[in-house]
Symmetry: C2
């Protein structure tokens, strides 16, 4: 179920800024992962996934997105899912974050009594137009009433920012542009800003430079989260850089869900299992049961009909009884 | 062929020990990768793989292993392969490192005029018995005449050490044991010591601690190489830790060859593509053409009949023309 006995050895990373004793793993598999599935996953499977992830100890499990079903048919059951979770989990379901792209999305979330929402913006003009169907400046005009009304209703707001490390149409994205966009989301009232490397092109020095640029702009690391995709295998290395820079919240997806693992340019999220193994090795607390997450990923892989793209998830799958050795 | 235009952005990692301008990528795919294939790869494919990797600019391409064919039938053609490469590459083929487990292996390598060999030891008793069929102390007795005769013949010797971060039978391996084993190999005459995380369990703090332990024992980072497997997704993060600790030689395998990517407990090597993307992002020179390596991995994947386990290799495959985007 777990790795070889007593492994990984716990060895702290030297030179981490204090306090380094605890990290928050923000689980996005049920939303960012499943929204990229080619097929629609049944509501019962989604509900069980979220429940299992909560039972594994994940402190934050993003549940779904109230986008228009025309854009993301995979999440068209968002309201039904949250109702089902409220039935099974009770009040706890209200605290699961849900994405709301605009006021209509917020209306739906508020009707259901949700207490934690997220808006999602873009650091680039092109992706704002492609993902949100509006311009870079217009997106903030769209978010303003969403955030304002959410805060007035006592609802927590997270801000996502996409394309913080590069954009497939625009190329490299300057640090100042990312900081400018992030500061606008924070000034609108987002309590936390999740900086997304949507196409997975960033590397470790870039991560540290971006965090430092936010610090220079007066945004402390306590308000930042990092959201990495593993397109070029950089996700966990980038977490290490973020951790060294003082960030303490990292987004991850059970089993590395997100994007098809066998398509070219697959853009799966950082696997929660990879992250937990890393934190366990450093002796950084997270409160999550790695074996339970790996078992959940294995169960979901059966439902999706393909193995997890995460090496750690496969190696830790409950059925694994042997370890392959190489010379 | 490559990633989105101008990506990754070049951003140095702050605080790297100087000089950090250049890293040596030691390519092990043709040996460590192919020895773990379930089938035997034809000699012509192996020869083309090695030639393409050299043409891509890789400074060191380990070619094969002179182990007994009974133990590794995948590499039973070692002598024929080196003869074929000498025909096509000329004198250059003599400098490709080959593994020699014992004096018989060395005899075969010397007969062919090879000028760079590697011995492979274990930091643990159990793995020495399983992989070398002798005890921990006996292995050094076996290596002694190999290294002595190689050096006398003007042949360079690399020392590999397995299970430096954990052992599937013995669990965690103490730093002192690894240092003791490594120092013995170096004192026997190995010019470089490659520290292997054979089962991929190590994490970043452990890497830095091990390098520091060698330093405490008087072994400088210039004599160390790091050899990571990606079983738990830690390989590139561990390279980052090693780079920060001053190590400048990293083993990697084109496309992440090594172990079956779809078997549980897959233990593929760090993918050369992941490593090159990382170094490119940091602006660290390596002299290798990433696109040419990715094209080689795609070509080999066709021969092996399955996609590369490396996300970067898949994303960079020459056929890739689109980039998948997620919200």
């Amino acid at each position: 179920m777990t790795g070889p006995t007593g492994l990984p050895m716990r060895v702290p990373l030297p030179g981490l800024p204090a306090p380094t004793t605890r990290v928050t793993v923000y689980e996005v598999g049920a939303r960012d992962g499943l929204q990229n599935e080619s097929g629609v996953v049944p509501l019962a499977v989604k509900a069980e996934l979220i429940t299992r992830l909560l039972d594994a100890g994940l402190p934050v499990v993003e549940a779904t997105s109230f986008v228009h079903p025309r854009w993301v048919p995979q999440l068209a059951d968002a309201a039904d899912l949250m109702t089902s979770l409220a039935d099974s989990l009770g009040d706890r379901a209200r605290d699961l974050p849900v994405l709301v792209p605009n006021e209509r999305g917020l209306d739906r979330a508020l009707e259901l009594g949700q207490r934690h929402v997220a808006v999602f913006g873009s650091a680039t003009e092109t992706f704002a137009r492609r993902n949100l169907n509006c311009g870079y400046d217009e997106q903030f005009a769209m978010f303003a009433p969403v955030v304002e009304r959410a805060l007035a209703a006592g609802v927590r707001v997270r801000g996502y920012l996409s394309m913080c490390f590069g954009d497939p149409w625009e190329g490299p994205v300057a640090l100042e542009r990312v900081v400018a966009a992030g500061v606008r989301l924070l000034e609108q009232g987002a309590e936390q800003l999740s900086l997304g490397d949507t196409i997975g092109v960033g590397t470790a020095g870039h991560v540290e430079a971006l965090v430092a640029a936010f610090d220079d702009a007066g945004v402390g690391v306590d308000r930042l989260a990092l959201h990495f995709h593993d397109t070029y295998g950089q996700a966990l290395s980038n977490v290490q850089a973020g951790l060294r820079a003082g960030v303490r919240t990292f987004d991850a997806s059970a089993g590395g869900l997100g994007g098809c693992p066998y398509a070219r340019s697959a853009t799966g999220n950082l696997a929660t299992e990879d992250l937990l193994w890393f934190l366990d090795g450093l002796g950084v607390e997270h409160g999550v049961d790695l074996a339970a997450v790996a078992a959940t990923s294995a169960w979901l892989a059966d439902h999706l009909g393909r193995p997890s793209p995460s090496a750690a998830a496969r190696a830790l799958a409950p059925q694994a009884t042997t370890t392959t050795i190489q010379g």
